[in-house]
């Protein structure tokens, strides 16, 4: 799951840093994720994992780090 999330981030997060080297707990917003790009990340994740984030998960905190994204996806039933 980690590598697919990183692929989505590489394609959509437009981060000025190397995604492969990002710590799982690193704050993506501090790393340069804009609110505009975070929407594209959401869409990319939904497509990659064939899920739909419910309203209560559409929070800044859900997309804060690779770890928090993974946790959200697990709650939606995504397995490794």
């Amino acid at each position: 799951m980690d590598s697919v999330i990183r692929d989505v981030l590489i394609n959509h997060a437009k981060l000025p840093v190397d995604v492969a080297g990002l710590d799982r707990a690193a704050d993506l917003y501090t790393a340069g994720l804009t609110s505009h790009a975070s929407v594209n990340v959401m869409l990319g994740l939904e497509d990659a994992f064939d899920v739909e984030f419910p309203d209560e998960m559409l929070r800044k905190s859900t997309f804060e780090s690779i770890a928090s994204i993974e946790e959200a996806l697990r709650r939606l039933g995504v397995e490794d």
């Binding site: 981060l15 000025p16 840093v17 917003y29 501090t30 790393a31 340069g32 994720l33 804009t34 609110s35 505009h36 929407v39 959401m42 869409l43 739909e52 984030f53 419910p54 309203d55 559409l58 929070r59 800044k60």
Partner: protein
């Protein structure tokens, strides 16, 4: 101007300032494109500049609703003064809701005690009007921060006692990793780069400057600017601006109503030709009024339930408020102009609408509606709730 009596609402206080001060100077403020010193002094004296600050910090402990009502009243007399009070109050709201550090608490008390006027520097040369992105950065220097920002606009910057500026958190930070910094008078310099000679809101003196400031790190807000923006800066801005536009539209409505009633008195029993237009104007004005008050209720609800304030629906609603209100204010004043005819078109007439209309056209441009709609388009791609 005396201070406000305890039992007076802020709206009543603002109306008195409007009648006794702002209304007298509005024409000159507009003609000379000058800062409305008399009106802002009167606002300071009456406590309007410290209204949002809590009583224990030396303010009036007023709600956003009460200040919004005051801005609506003041806007009837002098749009520029109302806009300055609105922009100042937006900065105060950030201080009240996010000013967590000891230095910011001290500064907040100074705002109340000394009646400081706060300005804002959020846009920057070279970033295309995107306030959620900065080039300049807070740099550590001599036990404090140093900041240099090329601001295309700092409204009433030369008259402000402090300027709240956005910048990247550190010189290494990404453009979107922003903080808000208080730049205090005496610790900043302004080098003017453009002058303000515009169609409307001429008293806001919204020139461009290079801002250079130093200060203690405690004056950097601890909350990320992105969070302050979505929770406070954006919704409060849109609520206070649209409350001002409501005041301007209400003033135009008042003049149109007087005009129609004057005509009706001459021909009792016969509806003046402009009577139907006045009815149409009332429909549009009610849309604007209820839109603004609905948004205020939504803000109060989000204040009580922070989870609500984080929903995409809340963000799109607060964006739509600005787009809608900024369009409706022009519609109302245009309708009033059609009703008053040449009496409204004339500059020297009790029914004159020229200045109001010129001011109103600024509403759709200050944070362009196209940009706001583009943001909403993006949010709507993932909005779920019905």
């Amino acid at each position: 101007m005396t201070g406000s009596a305890a039992d007076e609402t802020l709206a009543v206080v603002a109306r008195r300032i409007g009648e006794e001060v702002a209304g007298l100077h509005a024409e000159d403020v507009d003609a000379s494109s000058r800062f409305p010193t008399e009106t802002i002094d009167a606002c300071r004296e009456a406590g309007l500049l410290r209204a949002l600050v809590s009583v224990e910090d030396g303010g009036l402990g007023a709600s956003l609703d009460e200040v919004a009502d005051a801005i609506t009243e003041l806007g009837r007399w002098c749009s520029s003064s109302g806009m300055i009070l609105a922009m100042h109050t937006i900065q105060v709201a950030c201080l009240v809701r996010h000013g967590g550090s000891e230095e910011l608490a001290t500064f907040r008390k100074r705002v109340a005690a000394e009646g400081l006027l706060l300005a804002s520097a959020t846009t920057e040369v070279g970033i295309g009007g995107d306030v959620r992105s900065s080039t300049c950065a807070v740099e550590a220097r001599d036990d404090g921060f140093h900041l240099r920002k090329q601001a295309p606009v700092i409204s009433y910057g030369e008259y402000a006692d402090a300027i709240l500026a956005t910048a990247r958190r550190t010189p290494e930070s990404a453009p979107s990793d922003q903080v808000l910094v208080v730049c205090e008078k005496g610790r900043f310099t302004l080098e003017r780069t453009t002058t303000w000679d515009a169609l409307g809101f001429r008293g806001t003196c919204s020139s461009g400057f290079v801002l250079e400031a130093t200060g203690g790190f405690g004056l950097v807000f601890p909350t990320a600017y992105g969070d302050m923006s979505s929770q406070t800066m954006l919704p409060v801005s849109h609520i206070l601006w649209s409350s001002l536009w409501l005041g301007m539209a209400s003033e135009a409505d008042g003049r149109a109503r007087k005009f129609v009633q004057g005509a009706a008195r001459k021909t009792p029993g016969q509806m003046p030709p402009s009577g139907m237009r006045l009815a149409e104007l009332a429909v549009t004005l009610q849309q604007l009024h209820d839109l603004v008050h609905g948004a205020r209720a939504r803000f109060a609800a989000a204040d009580a339930d922070p989870d609500l304030g984080q929903t995409i629906g809340y963000a799109t609603a607060m964006n739509s408020l600005k787009v809608s209100a900024s369009t409706l204010v022009v519609e109302v004043i245009q309708k009033a102009l059609l009703i008053c005819g040449m009496a409204g078109y004339a500059n020297r007439s009790p029914f004159t609408l020229g200045r109001l209309l010129r001011d109103a056209y600024g509403a759709q441009l200050m944070v362009n509606n196209d940009r706001i709609n583009a943001n909403n388009a993006q949010l709507l791609l993932v909005q779920r709730e019905r």
